[in-house]
Amino acid sequence: MIAQMSQREKTLAFLVGGAIAVLLNVFIIKFFMGKYNEYSEIKIKAEGELRGYKILDTERERWAKRDAWLTANLHPMGEEAEMDKSQRDYLKSLAQKNDILIDSVSPGKSTALTSYTAFNTGLECKGGWEQLIGFLSDLQNQKNFTVVDPMDIKVDVNDKTKFKASIRVVKWFAPTAGVKPLGRL
């Protein structure tokens, strides 16, 4: 068939054939590289998991100890009303100690979750930056199981040296039975 073609037809056939060959190769290389990259990603992930397991193996004792520590130190909340009173008193005493002026403390409310029971108390206060640091430092220590979520601090418009803070103080307790799954606090 090629022998019967003219030179022009041969050139055209060569160009078309070459273009098809190049496209085919591009497709094959793309497919090959795509698959190779896909497998490489899976491999990296699986190897990462295996490496993670090895690390976990060396930390087995540590995590067990931490879990035991959480279980031992996470106490039940008790009566909500009593908790509310003691928490408000506690916050007021810490504020007084750190020279923080409390504008308002809202009544506390508990929320039961799978991992813990959260008791939330809203607090509006005012003070210097260092005083706020002192207040929060006393508030947040390891066995207190207390987080601030959220806390919003702004410059006091009346006294630029002071800051106004709106804090929701959340204290965590051991979970109670029949609670809803973990979500937002």
Partner: protein, 416 residues
Amino acid sequence: MKKNGASHALVSPGATGWRIRLNGGTDNTVPTLDEALSVIPDDAHIELSLPCQSVLLERHKLPATDRAELADMLQLQLEKTLPFPVEEVSHGYELLGQEDNESTILSIAAHHTQLDQICAPLRDKGRLPERITLEAQRVAAACPVNETVLALWPEQEQLVAAIVTGGKLAWAQPMSSRDAETVLSELPGLLISAEIEGVPVNFAEILLSRQCADLEPALAGELNKPIRPLADDEKTEAGLDLLPASWQHEAHRRERGEKLKQNLLLAAVIYLVLLAGAFITLALYKKKVQNIQNQAATEAPKYAVINQQKARWDTFAPAVENSRYAVEVMFQLWKDWKKFKDDNNLQFVGFTFKPSEWVLKGEGTIDSQFQFSQAVKKNFDLADFYDIDAKYTPLKDNRVTFTVSGKPKPLIPPKK
């Protein structure tokens, strides 16, 4: 005449039809050239030996001894004597003798139309002969080199009579029939014509092909010369090649095409091998990855408890990890801010903290915000635990509002 290890097929006129001799071995006889191809291997180089009746033989005396000059003179001579243009023939000559400034030659010419006709069955199937020779020259080459002989042999239902001088073809003429009566009636006249042309007819003996041995008694009685059988061991090479130049080009083109085809085939094979290799490698890689995946999946249950313990600690991290405390973040930011206490260009606007993210908002010049952001990013007590990001929005007079924010990184257990 083997080339590149391929076989050689000599196709020559037989007593009837065509005779095929492969690599100088045993003969096969076929009635037509069409059928000859079934005997010839595909890779064989074909040499076609023409029957005497297909060529024009002319004896010339030319006033030159130089071969180039002789060729030119013969060209002119043929232009005069041939009944068709000389461009349409393949020709050559056999040098029979030279005296002083004179040469006696036998010109051999084959008309291309005749060659086309003979070779059509071969060409139609893309099997061009690589050489075209004359069978009579081949027979002559098998004759004794020190005497003049009359050789007789059959060619495709005819009988060829040739006078061979010193192993060279001096004259040849086909006869219409092989029967003794025709031969005895035609041969004397042909010999007289030859003598008139100047061919030495005083041959010492008659060499008769075994295929027409039946003529021996008649010839012995008529010519009174000793008769010997014609040697069968014909030389495979004859001096003259009558292959037309255009055929040679066609043959070269086909050869090049064939070579290109082979190279392309080789390239295709290499390509396919590489392709197969690549896909085998990919398959092996996939298998390896699957093995690692399976290993990870097998290991996973062993670490389910420890993962749960870790997840529980992560949940409680905002309450039990110092680095996640709001106060720790405020303290570190305060340390960085203090470095710029004398810089009136930097102003605090606000700070928001959640366990999932903290954001410091401020205002200042573009330089001061940049320096503060860099200071925060380089504070490893923050940067080790949070992914820190700094953004700004331009205001007037080279001032900007900016935010520096942090999102907690996964917990790294302390070494202790």
